[in-house]
């Protein structure tokens, strides 16, 4: 059986190496060649540092770099503080499952649709301004205020926070489930520490190692996000990732060279920010030890916690209103400033699936379904391989899973596109499905790993004792018992697939039109009503998937209390 496990693991490892790691490296190699002056297609054949010099001389390059760092690192630090404070405030007052259900719409909504809704909500002519004009503000025409696309990236940070804080809340919530929080809290309070201080000094240091990897993913994502930054971020100059996307698609083809250099630079920015973060961790550990051993009971942290609570609540409200605004727009005909609601309504945007959304919906469903099922199959094979070999996961294997989430997409996608063309599979669904799997598989794997390991071994041993073969034990015992985690992992994978923008755009050669690519394209158009339809569909699909993950196990196992997973 060990051998069998080994061969299964070998198959999975080969698929991952050949399918994931090599292409990323090859993509980087192509980008790297262009970054150092070699791209024969545009007549550039000599190695040189010129692309880097051009890049450094690009107007606004320094500002773009600074904007990326400020919005990326800033939003991550804020998200961590807010989420930790909110958990400290609410823990014990609300169950993790209940919080998860409340957050579901925001967790499920792709970045792009949330950003589109938020842009309308916050704009000087947006919903908030409309609701308060002119009776409160006295505005009969919108004021000239930079509430979105502001030069400091505040709107972008708000947008990122609305997506990141719920994600962190969920991650922290599940980490807390593994700790004896209640007992420690009681002990701490008995020793004279306030609720907030126990969190900061005792519980948070135990939670942190468990949420470190998700934090790095958030950091890498926030530093290199493109779709949300186009819609909410500053435009002149934009953040580095948006600037790179623009340079790659500039009419002047020679810009591909400095754009490639900037792609490598983007990877370095992410690596540097993570290194910086790890350095800050070390520092915090030193200071924290000293602080802890000093034993001071500290100040009242109540106001701080409540402030975090208010901010998080405001963010969540903004997020929900943003999604609602899109839904309202999709049914509007004329809706001009300062009307709080549309003057006239129409179903026209919804009545014309032939105009585009019908096809986009179908494509999104097919790609999402295939990537999710393939990722699930691969994840099951991996985990079963670990079981059969009776070995835990090596550190390199763990790193392999996280790799695509930490490496900026823009750094290797262009190179990868060239590579795919050489193989001859670009511009098709297949290329898109494969590229999306790079990002879907890690999430599925992460979501499935813990429930899989937590599976009660006694059932499996009992099945083995009854003579069931390893395959039978997998199919007849493990998978049915894991139905709920499998469905949740599938829903997460599906949501990730629906939200993919850059991989779909680059690998599909623009031909593979999904709800997300279409929504982002239309967001740069003039018709919010059509955008509303796309964004509602885009946000609705993952929502349905999560809903199914919650409901289906309950229906299938309506007579099996322990398998419904209601307590999870």
């Amino acid at each position: 059986m060990r051998d069998e496990g080994r061969s299964l693991r070998a198959v999975v490892a080969v698929i991952l190496l050949a399918g994931f790691v090599l292409p990323i490296l090859a993509g980087f190699a192509q980008t790297g060649r262009a970054a150092f002056g070699v791209l024969p297609a545009i007549g550039a054949v000599e190695w040189s540092l010129d692309p880097w010099r051009t890049l450094a001389a690009m107007p606004g390059f320094g500002t773009s770099l600074r904007l990326s760092l400020v919005t990326g690192v800033g939003s991550t630090v804020l998200a961590l503080m807010l989420a930790a404070g909110f958990c400290a405030l609410l823990h014990g007052r609300m169950s993790t499952a209940a919080i998860g259900r409340l957050l579901m719409p925001l967790l499920a909504a792709p970045h792009a649709s949330l950003a589109i809704g938020l842009a309308f909500l916050l704009a000087p002519s947006g919903w908030i301004a409309r609701a308060m004009s002119p009776w409160l503000t006295g505005w009969d025409r919108p004021p000239d205020l930079a509430t979105v696309n502001d030069a400091w990236g505040v709107a972008l940070i708000i947008g990122l926070l609305i997506k990141e804080v719920p994600f962190l809340l969920l991650v922290i919530g599940s980490a807390l489930g593994q700790l004896p929080v209640r007992a420690q809290l009681a002990a701490g309070r008995a020793l004279g520490y306030g609720r907030g201080m126990v969190w900061v000094k005792v519980i948070f240091p135990q939670v942190y190692p468990l949420i470190r990897m998700p934090l790095f993913i958030i950091l890498a994502f926030a530093l290199s996000v493109v779709d949300m930054a186009i819609i909410l971020g500053p435009s002149n100059p934009p953040t580095l990732a948006v600037a790179i996307t623009r340079w790659f698609s500039a009419p002047d083809v020679a810009l591909i060279l400095p754009a490639s250099a900037a792609g490598l630079m983007q990877a370095a920015v992410v690596a540097g920010a993570i290194a910086l973060w790890i350095g800050a961790e070390r520092l915090a550990r030193l200071i924290g030890r000293w602080w802890l051993s000093r034993g001071g009971r500290g100040y009242a942290t109540g106001p701080g916690l409540w402030a975090a609570g208010v901010v998080v609540f405001t963010l969540l409200t903004l997020g929900v209103l943003a999604l609602l605004a899109l839904a309202v727009w999709s049914f509007a005909w004329r809706w001009s400033f300062p009307q709080a609601l549309p003057q006239s309504w129409a179903l026209r945007a919804w009545m014309t699936p032939g105009a585009g959304w019908g096809r986009a919906l179908q494509t999104t469903l097919i790609i999402g379904g295939v990537t999710t099922l393939a990722s699930l199959a691969l994840a099951i094979a991996w985990l079963e391989g670990e079981d059969r070999a009776r070995r835990g996961r090596a550190a390199w294997a763990q790193a392999l899973i996280y790799l695509p989430l930490l490496v900026p997409q823009i750094g290797f996608l262009y190179g990868l596109n060239v590579l795919f063309l050489q193989v001859g599979i670009s511009g098709g669904m297949l290329a898109v499905i494969w590229a999306q799997m790079l990002f879907v598989f890690p999430y599925v794997m992460i979501a499935l790993s813990d429930p899989w390991r937590a599976l009660d071994c006694q059932h499996i041993r009992a099945a083995a004792a009854l003579g069931a073969s390893p395959w039978r034990r997998l199919v007849a015992v493990k998978l049915p018992m894991l139905l709920r985690p499998l469905m949740v992992a599938g829903a997460i994978g599906f949501a990730v697939s629906v939200a993919q923008y850059l991989p779909t755009l680059f690998m599909g050669a623009g031909r593979v039109v999904t709800l997300t690519t279409e929504a982002v394209t239309l967001a740069s158009g003039s018709d919010r009503r059509i955008v509303g339809v796309y964004a509602v569909l885009q946000a609705g699909l993952p929502f349905l998937a999560y809903g199914a993950a919650l409901l289906v196990p309950g229906l299938v196992y309506r007579n099996r209390r322990e398998l419904k997973g209601g307590n999870a």
């Binding site: 791209l39 297609a41 545009i42 107007p59 606004g60 500002t63 704009a123 000087p124 002519s125 025409r141 919108p142 000239d144 930079a146 696309n149 502001d150 030069a151 186009i230 500053p234 435009s235 002149n236 100059p237 623009r246 790659f248 698609s249 500039a250 009419p251 002047d252 083809v253 591909i256 004329r334 001009s336 400033f337 006239s344 129409a346 105009a355 585009g356 262009y414 596109n417 060239v418 590579l419 795919f420 063309l421 050489q422 001859g424 670009s426 511009g427 050669a509 623009g510 031909r511 039109v513 279409e518 982002v520 394209t521 239309l522 740069s524 158009g525 003039s526 018709d527 009503r529 059509i530």
Partner: protein
């Protein structure tokens, strides 16, 4: 360049002569043409879908629009394919292309052709050496692109809000002084934003003839000096103090509709009428052009050198030049963009198609639009965009 042309000819990529058109039609039957076109305008998208339905019914050629946020994306795609050695079976069959993108593709020998002069319907075009359909931004088209629709730079505004729109580009400064924060233009990295600057360049340049030759540093310094003087005065008075700009003209139109700014820009004189019909602008929206006229050009379609369905693409390009198609396209209820055909080459039945088109109060008459100013050489636009970025992107 010439060598490549001969090489292409000897390899049999030469465009079909008129007599071979039947052969092209035969090959095209059953093909699906991937038409890469900017997808930000719902009416254009609907028109392209209509074209596809027509060509499928008439010639068995299906059309799939690849909706681009920026035409340069398609150029990048063709370059990627070339770097991967994919010299046939490429994914881009037809591109809606103009200006720097066309210049870049032509210079890099990334285009199929010459084919345009051999299309049967090319007989309705004035293809003289200086005619609008033979030159794109002063760059000779040489048959590597086929005319499609006429574009004229216009401003849109709400006549209920703005009683007297500016008379010329200089007038925008006066308007902004009286109404700070109400004027803007699309981001200059966008074609329309660059066109706003070009319109001012053409209006202010002391000697307009230099604009028709490739740009030089000295010529640029002299010609653009009054432009920058005007722009430096205007910029702090613009929306968001000229620190940020709408991404493109559609976003700006939405801002006009929201009342955030007072003017939109468009390359389509029918844009206000069209937007009113779509419910995207108030009924009082109108268009105007600066007194001395405005920049105009012809939009082209071109076929990449490695297009998988070049024959189908030629059939589509030819269909676009059909008098019935052009009349349908000029219909305000459809697209409302003016025909590229030479009226003197149409027979009475064909001319009647155009005469019968409906009108709209927001649709300007051809005489309201004033003279068409020539586009500067494409290199001027590239230089203008670069210098603007150097001056104002910090």
């Amino acid at each position: 360049m010439r060598f490549i042309l001969f090489a292409a000819l000897s390899l049999g990529f030469a465009s079909p002569a008129l007599a071979d058109w039947q052969e092209t039609l035969d090959k095209a039957r059953g093909q699906t043409v991937y038409w890469n076109a900017w997808g930000g305008d719902a009416r254009t998208n609907a028109f392209i879908a209509w074209v596809g339905a027509q060509t499928e019914a008439q010639y068995g050629v299906r059309v799939e629009q690849v909706k681009l946020t920026d035409t340069a994306t398609a150029v990048t795609q063709v370059i990627s394919e070339k770097s991967a050695g994919q010299d046939s079976g490429g994914s881009v069959d037809l591109i809606w292309i103009n200006g720097p993108n066309f210049l870049a593709m032509k210079e890099q020998s990334l285009l199929h052709g010459p084919f345009a002069t051999d299309l049967p319907n090319a007989r309705y075009l004035d293809l003289g050496p200086d005619a609008a359909a033979s030159v794109d931004f002063t760059v000779p088209v040489d048959g590597y692109a086929s005319a499609w629709r006429l574009a004229r730079f216009v401003f849109t505004y709400d006549s209920a809000v703005v009683a007297n729109p500016p008379a010329d580009m200089a007038g925008f400064l006066d308007y902004a002084q009286a109404n700070p924060g109400r004027v803007t233009h699309p981001d200059v990295s966008n074609f329309m934003g660059a066109t706003f600057l070009k319109q001012a360049l053409v209006e202010f340049a002391p000697d307009k003839t230099v604009l028709q030759a490739p740009v030089t540093d000295e010529a640029f310094a002299t010609a653009s000096a009054p432009l920058w003087e005007w722009y430096d005065a205007l910029r702090p008075l613009m929306w968001r103090e000229g620190q940020t700009f709408p991404e493109n003209e559609s976003v700006q139109q939405q801002m006009l509709n929201d009342g955030e700014v007072d003017f939109g820009v468009s390359f389509d004189p029918a844009s206000a009428a069209g937007a009113i019909a779509e419910g995207l602008l108030p009924d009082t929206a109108r268009v105007f052009v600066p007194q001395g006229g405005s920049i105009g050009n012809i939009s082209f379609v071109a076929i990449p050198y490695n297009a998988a369905n070049a024959e189908g693409a030629e059939v589509v390009a030819n269909f676009l030049l059909d008098p019935a198609t052009q009349a349908h396209q000029q219909n305000i209820e459809v697209l409302g963009s003016f025909s590229v055909l030479d009226p003197s080459r149409l027979n009475a039945d064909q001319a009647a198609l155009f005469a019968a088109l409906p009108s709209s109060p927001a649709l300007p008459k051809l005489e309201d639009l004033g003279p068409t100013l020539l586009e500067p050489h494409a290199s001027w636009m590239v230089k203008l965009v670069d210098v603007w970025a150097d001056r104002y992107t910090k």
